[in-house]
């Protein structure tokens, strides 16, 4: 690891001040599980590292009454998760389990507790690794992140925040401080499927999150009022499968319709060959797991 100067601010204001002073020469380190590895491999060689470990606040999981799109369940509009919460905090939170079981499930699948205890919610998102578990779920639920700078705050939907391979929309001088996740709508069902042919703590070969909301259509037949589908590990970022969604919105969720919609994801994924499978295999599995995720979300409608 290349030598660097370490800064340990105690407040967000101090951290933002340091970021202003050192600019591009500095990297912000939350848990550090990703950045330390990049620094060991000399993929990152910052002159200054600003550790957020001692920064007070931004470590709570709160029920939020912020306005979200659509009706929400249990009278709760959603959850606000402080960016410095450890991923284990989310994976063991009874509030998350009760209000947003899909999020609870996704964070429980991240690596192992020894990593989740160090890695933070915000750090994981800023890292922009396309194979991580939380992004597909966050996109499917319509989550957004708050970026704080000395000049103010900016709220960005997660799907827009993830720009490219390990590249996110964090602008100079900004620190990700909160994640807001709207509660799934009443009458919805959700599923997160992670295809793991190797070990349970591995990255997915393909991962799919789906949230389905039904309504009564003409003739008393249930039709898809809304659906959100997102895939992980099969492209440069997590992918929001809008084409498949458009095919299903307003339609009855018959097996035939689900199959036709799931087939479209093969055109939007762009996987890499690796030891988790060839690109072609992952493309095929993207379709299969999208189909299964929609079906399971449908079964989970309550």
């Amino acid at each position: 690891m290349i030598d660097f100067q370490l800064h340990c601010p105690n407040t967000l204001e101090e951290a933002l001040g340091l970021l202003g002073t050192y600019g591009d020469d500095a990297r912000v380190m939350a848990g550090g599980t990703a950045l330390v590895i990049q620094m060991k491999q000399r993929l990152a060689q910052p002159e200054h590292v600003i550790s957020l470990r001692g920064v007070a606040g931004f470590n709570l999981i709160e029920e939020s009454t912020e306005e979200s799109t659509g009706e929400s369940s249990n009278g709760v509009k959603g959850l606000k998760i402080g960016a410095f919460c450890s991923q284990e905090q989310v994976a063991t939170s009874s509030t998350v389990r009760e209000k947003l079981p899909l999020v609870w499930q996704a964070y429980r699948q991240v690596a192992t507790p020894r990593i989740r205890n160090i890695a933070t919610v915000g750090g994981g998102l800023v890292h922009g690794d396309p194979s991580q578990d939380p992004p597909p779920t966050l996109i499917a639920l319509g989550a957004s992140v708050t970026l704080t700078s000395a000049g103010g705050q900016r709220v960005v939907p997660v799907e827009d925040f993830l720009i490219d391979y390990y590249e996110t929309d964090v602008r100079p001088g900004e620190i990700l401080t909160d994640v807001f996740i709207p509660a799934a709508p009443v009458g919805s069902g959700a599923a997160y499927l992670k295809f793991l042919p190797r070990t349970a703590d591995d990255y997915a070969t393909v991962a799919v999150a789906a949230v389905v909301t039904l309504e009564e259509g003409p003739g008393g037949v249930n039709v898809c009022q809304d659906i959100r589908i997102a895939l992980g590990a099969v492209g440069i970022t997590a992918i929001h499968a809008t084409q498949a969604e458009d095919m299903l919105r307003g339609q009855p969720l018959t097996e035939e319709n689900i199959r036709a919609a799931a087939a479209t994801v093969k055109d939007v994924v762009d996987p890499l060959d690796d030891y988790r499978g060839s690109a072609n295999y992952k493309r095929e599995m993207s379709e299969v797991f999208t189909r299964r995720a929609i079906q399971q979300a449908l079964e989970n409608v309550h």
Binding site: M1, G32, T112, I115
Partner: protein, 159 residues
């Protein structure tokens, strides 16, 4: 560049001057001579370097020591109390939970961490929790057996 930190390791406070790039595992081994903690994969996958940071299980190969000012660390050397081995340590001896020994400190720290959170885990919960601790001798059944026998009142193992 060096940084001054205070680390409380196994109950003893240490004032240290460490290079900012010093990993916790190296700080324990080289600066404090606590070589019980092993480094395996160096990328947080194998579990060999497991220690407790402020009571929580963590991979010491991924944490910069200089960011831990004021933290409390527990390593394998800190488990025995008054000359008595921790029940998990004793069970690993009694039930053959280790072979070459490299993964053992990490296995024991992980098992201790589980029992701190859940004193009577099911076998399935043990398997899930210990999933991130690799044993290349592949002695997993004996490790599982050791942990199962370290639990609760049937702890006759530490006779």
């Amino acid at each position: 560049m060096d940084q001054s930190i205070t680390l409380k390791v196994n109950g003893t406070s240490h004032e240290l001057e460490v290079p900012t790039r010093r990993l916790l595992v190296d700080c324990l081994r080289y600066d404090l001579g606590l070589t019980g903690t092993k480094e395996g994969c160096s990328v947080g996958v194998c579990g060999a370097c497991t220690v407790l940071v402020d009571g929580k299980m963590a991979a010491s190969c991924l944490i910069l020591a200089a960011t831990l000012d004021g933290a409390e660390i527990t390593t394998i050397e800190g488990l025995a109390q008054d000359g008595r081995l921790h029940p998990v340590q004793q069970a690993f001896i009694d039930y053959g939970g280790f072979q070459c020994g490299i993964c053992t400190p990490g296995q024991i720290m992980a098992a201790k961490s589980l029992l701190d959170l859940n004193p009577s885990p099911s076998e399935q919960e043990i398997r899930e929790w210990m999933m991130g601790n690799l044993c290349r001798c592949t002695g997993y059944y004996k490790i599982l057996e050791s942990i199962v026998n370290a639990i609760g009142p049937t702890q006759e193992a530490s006779k």
